[in-house]
Amino acid sequence: MTTDWALRVSSLGKIHGSADLRALEDTGPDIGTAKSAITGSIVAAWDVGFEVSPGEALGVIGESGSGKSTVMRCIAGDQPSTSGEVHLRTVDDGRTNVLELDPSARRRLRISDLAVVYQDPAEGLRLNVTAGGNIAEALTAAGWRHFGRIRDRAAELLERTEVPHSRMDDLVGTFSGGMRQRVQLAKALANEPPVLLLDEPTTGLDASVAAGVLDLIRNLLEETGVAAVVVSHDFAVIEMLTTRCVVMNHGRIVEAGLTDRLLEDPHHPYSQRLVGAARA
């Protein structure tokens, strides 16, 4: 692949419990567990790698507990990783492994280099603050100090994510789940981050609401040209939003490829089982 990636992840690993690497010997897809009998620790993710280009969306799919959120949280800095490298094109032109930055520098990346949309809107939003105020937090963190311009920008973002203008000054805690997710998207996009991570963005929403939010996400990904990582256990979501994807099982990537190809012709038995279940 050429070097036009916006996000590059390599050899990313996360072990809960003892860092004893013998845990790698009796965990993973072939063994059928993420929990090591030798060390007692859990290998939530190991040797995970991929690149994402601007305008591209990469899917991460797998069953519950396969390590999808772990990968996302390690990239985002919500969780320390055990090993690996994460590079962002906007940080030192991709030369710095951001996992090695100090916590404060790491947190600053979340202002405008990297944004996250969580399954639970309460993780990405303050429910006791208005929709506009939540966006103002992202903007003021990036140095915005003009009240009128903050208002205008918040209104523009909420319009793009289809939140009625009349709700802009209401507390997010009074919003429905689907509406909260739209506000979370608006906040995540506030400073036009080049990289966007979405962890099960529509899980937990009613089917009809989820469809609307998915539609919105697809449009936003197209319009913004952001490099996105979409984590989901649902092939319908991955199929709709991504062109390439990786399949995770017990903390490891078992297959990677074009999403269409993978859905039509899965190679790994685990992928075959996942696709089979989705098609049933």
Binding site: S104, R107, R108, V129, T130, G132, G133, N134, A136, E137, A138, T140, A141, R145, H146, F147, G148, R149, I150, D169
Partner: protein
């Protein structure tokens, strides 16, 4: 740090044999020397890192915590035999609390007291900065009930420490944004958050907005003491103190159009409203700084005398 400032804190605290202190039955300034040294150390740190809240081992004082014990400890730790003390509460030298604190300082040091800033060197205050211009002779000691400016947006101590350490004040801005959205104006009055020396946000509690501009590049040293919360912070002379304000929403001090002091007719001082005694009486305004008001009145009555400013 420049030497005069250090001396302001240190030199004045050396009692000499012919000082009034040699006749006292208690230790000069009530506190034992070890306590004074510890508090002074905290003060020096606070001066060296303007706006940073320095923890200190707050003592039990003969006043209830929350009644000026933080300010009192600072005053007693830095007071020297050549100081003249002024204490105000709500701008008034004669308030019960002000009188008690002043008595305590005077009786434990033997130093003179005054109500006039011109004659004072150590001014302990709750709620106000005197109207008179202060200069390098003055040290202003403010009694602070709530030192943490971010208290309204975050309660977790570790998160608060992180926010200050990283100068992450976005949520403070959000609270100002929400105030303006909800009320059309920024309603926050006392304790207005200010950025000190371009680095730390402080609560200018308990002074009104009226007094905030007078902390900016002031000629005097301002020390803030919170006894209950065990914190000391400082605004050294000539330090930037900028109220957090949006570029398009100017910072405004409290002004009531048309109001003037009933006693001295002033329209140029910070006025407080005295409610009417009866339903028909609409109430009236008076200067909050009662000593300034008295001198202003005298000046108007006898233009030739007593005008020292």
């Amino acid at each position: 740090m420049n030497t005069p400032l250090l001396q302001q804190v240190l030199d004045r605290t050396t009692p000499v044999d012919d000082s009034p202190a040699s006749h006292l039955e208690v230790n000069f300034g009530l506190l034992d020397e070890y306590s004074k040294r510890e508090i002074r150390r905290a003060i020096l740190t606070a001066v060296a890192v303007p706006g940073y809240q320095v923890p200190f081992g707050s003592r039990e004082m003969p006043v209830a915590r929350g009644w000026g014990s933080g300010g009192l400890q600072i005053s007693l730790a830095i007071v020297g035999p050549y100081d003249v003390v002024k204490v105000i509460d709500q701008g008034d030298d004669e308030g019960v609390n002000a009188v008690n604190l002043r008595r305590l300082i005077v009786s434990s040091t033997g130093i003179p007291e005054s109500t006039t800033p011109e004659d004072s060197t150590l001014i302990q205050t709750r709620h106000r900065i005197p109207e008179d211009p202060l200069d390098e002779r003055h040290t202003l000691v403010l009694q602070v009930p709530v030192p943490e400016p971010l208290r309204g947006v975050e309660r977790d101590m570790r998160e608060l420490a992180r926010m200050h350490a990283e100068a992450d004040y976005a949520r403070m801005w959000v609270s100002l944004y929400e105030d303006k959205v909800r009320n059309g104006v920024i309603t926050r009055t006392t304790g207005y958050p200010c950025l000190v020396n371009g680095r730390y946000v402080i609560a200018t509690t308990p002074i009104p907005r009226w007094d905030v501009p007078r902390l900016h590049r002031s000629r005097f040293l301002a020390l803030f003491g919170a006894g209950r919360e065990k914190r000391i912070y400082a605004v050294p002379p000539h330090t930037d103190v900028e109220p957090l304000t949006f570029e398009d929403v100017p910072f405004e001090v409290e002004v009531t159009p048309g109001a003037s002091c009933r006693t001295c007719s002033s329209t140029e001082s910070f006025l407080v409203e005295i409610p009417g005694a009866t339903a028909g009486d609409g109430g009236h305004w008076v200067c909050s700084d009662s000593d300034w008001c008295r001198r202003n009145r005298e000046r108007l009555q006898h233009p030739s005398r007593g005008d020292r400013s």
